[in-house]
């Protein structure tokens, strides 16, 4: 064969010769025996033949557990602000009587100029003292009116700081400030933030829903 020229035809015939020579070759029988043993071992080790189903069931259970844990973990966060507001509403219960009287004593004046000043300025000191998380919750959950002055207020009153106190008032107090009231809910109370100056007097109020 070596004396022949290796052209395309010779190559094809040589490859066929090689293929024919190897056509009878087979893997040794020991491999079949090993595979059988592996299969038996596998059957003993793994009682569930459908591994995929088991995998997905386990994955589903894990996902459900993860969701449950995350729900439980997130719940206290959402409840905290309610507890703090409850605490706040409980605390000023004593003050409530005192502050309820404030609107009676201090009649709002029709002058517009001081009203603007008070409505902008007094919020700042209150905001500084309230923790950020609470502020965020208030912002996201509550709708509040602008602060309405309870009588004439000198802006210098708040130079020494002030305090916003959350109180609950009878719903009829809305009418006193010229706000509409739902008569069907007259027996319910309404939340309000009262701005108390350094002199200890209530200077402005806003209603919160």
């Amino acid at each position: 064969m070596n004396s022949q020229r290796f052209d395309e035809e010779t190559l094809t015939s040589s490859l066929k010769l090689l293929a024919g020579e190897m056509a009878t070759l087979n893997a040794p029988p020991e491999i079949e025996q090993k595979l059988r043993e592996a299969m038996r071992a596998r059957a003993v080790v793994r009682p569930f033949p459908k591994r995929r189903v088991g995998y997905w069931v386990a994955a589903g259970i894990a996902a459900a557990l993860l969701i449950a844990v995350s729900v439980v973990a997130l719940r206290p966060r959402t409840d905290k602000p309610n507890q703090t507001t409850a605490r706040q509403t409980d605390q000023p219960a004593v003050k409530e009587e005192r502050s309820v009287e404030v609107p009676k004593i201090l009649e709002p004046e029709p002058e517009q100029e001081p009203q603007k000043q008070i409505a902008r300025n007094p919020v700042r000191p209150g905001k500084r003292r309230v923790p950020h998380s609470e502020v965020a919750n208030h912002v996201t959950r509550e709708i509040a009116t602008d602060f309405m002055p309870l009588g004439y207020v000198n802006p210098t009153t708040f130079q020494d700081g002030g305090q916003v106190v959350r109180i609950e008032l009878p719903r009829s107090a809305l009418v006193n400030f010229g706000l509409p009231m739902n008569m069907e809910r007259y027996h319910e109370k309404v939340k309000a933030d009262v701005l108390i100056g350094s002199d200890g007097l209530a200077h402005a109020i806003r209603f919160v829903q």
Binding site: L11, A27, E32, L35, R36, M39
Partner: protein, 214 residues
């Protein structure tokens, strides 16, 4: 599927590869044996022709069927035959092994690797048999010396007699790529085999001249 059921099927008709695979995955040992006996030859030969090493071919054959036992559910009959699937798995194993083995140096002579082919000298023409065995060995070495991407095409299309379409499926490429690679591989084989011929011619010529002078 139980053994009896397979036996009954054998009486009627040979069960298909997919059917055997399903039974095997369900834990039927006889289905595994049937499938193995049916498909081991092509897997073993492919691995042997690709690697030129009997131990590697045996290992690869075993690994392919172990993979089938483990991950047989990934086989999709709509995408091709089980034979092509097994050859594809075998190819991946062979290439992986060859990548690892290229950094290793063989220690000592491995007679088994060299004795892949047994000359069939049953007739009364020993010189013809010798020439034939020599040619086979020459071509085998030339095929083994090809780069893997050309070697696998030659092994599949020329030695395993796999169609171009099936080869493309096994190799994960287009039929056109298979054709062009095969063309290039044949050209490389011719280039590898011709110099040997020329060298032989030259040596025989020098021998003749030496005889003349003698």
């Amino acid at each position: 599927m139980s053994v009896n059921h397979l036996g009954a099927m054998n009486l009627q008709s040979e069960p298909g590869d997919s059917e055997l695979l399903r039974s095997m995955l369900a834990g039927d040992e006889e289905a595994l044996a049937l499938l193995y006996r049916r498909r081991q030859g092509s897997v073993y030969r492919f691995a042997l022709q690709m690697s030129g090493s009997k131990p590697m071919a045996e290992d690869v054959t075993q690994e392919v069927f172990l993979f089938l036992m483990r991950e047989g559910h990934v086989f999709d009959p709509a995408r091709g035959s089980l034979s092509a699937f097994l050859l594809g798995v075998a190819r991946n194993h062979v290439l992986r092994r060859m990548r690892v083995d290229q950094f290793m140096t063989p220690i000592g002579d491995d007679d088994d690797d060299e004795a892949v082919f047994v000359a069939t000298g049953t007739d009364l023409r020993p010189l013809d048999d010798l020439a034939r065995a020599e040619t086979i060995e020459l071509v085998r070495r030339a095929v083994l010396s090809l780069p893997p991407k050309y070697r696998e095409v030659v092994v599949l299309c020329e030695l395993q007699d796999v169609s171009y379409g099936e080869a493309a499926e096994i190799l994960g490429c287009a039929i056109g790529t298979v054709r062009s690679r095969l063309h290039r591989a044949r050209a490389l084989l011719l280039a590898k085999l011709r110099p040997a011929e020329q060298i032989d011619d030259e040596s025989s010529a020098s021998l003749k001249s030496a005889r003349c002078f003698a």
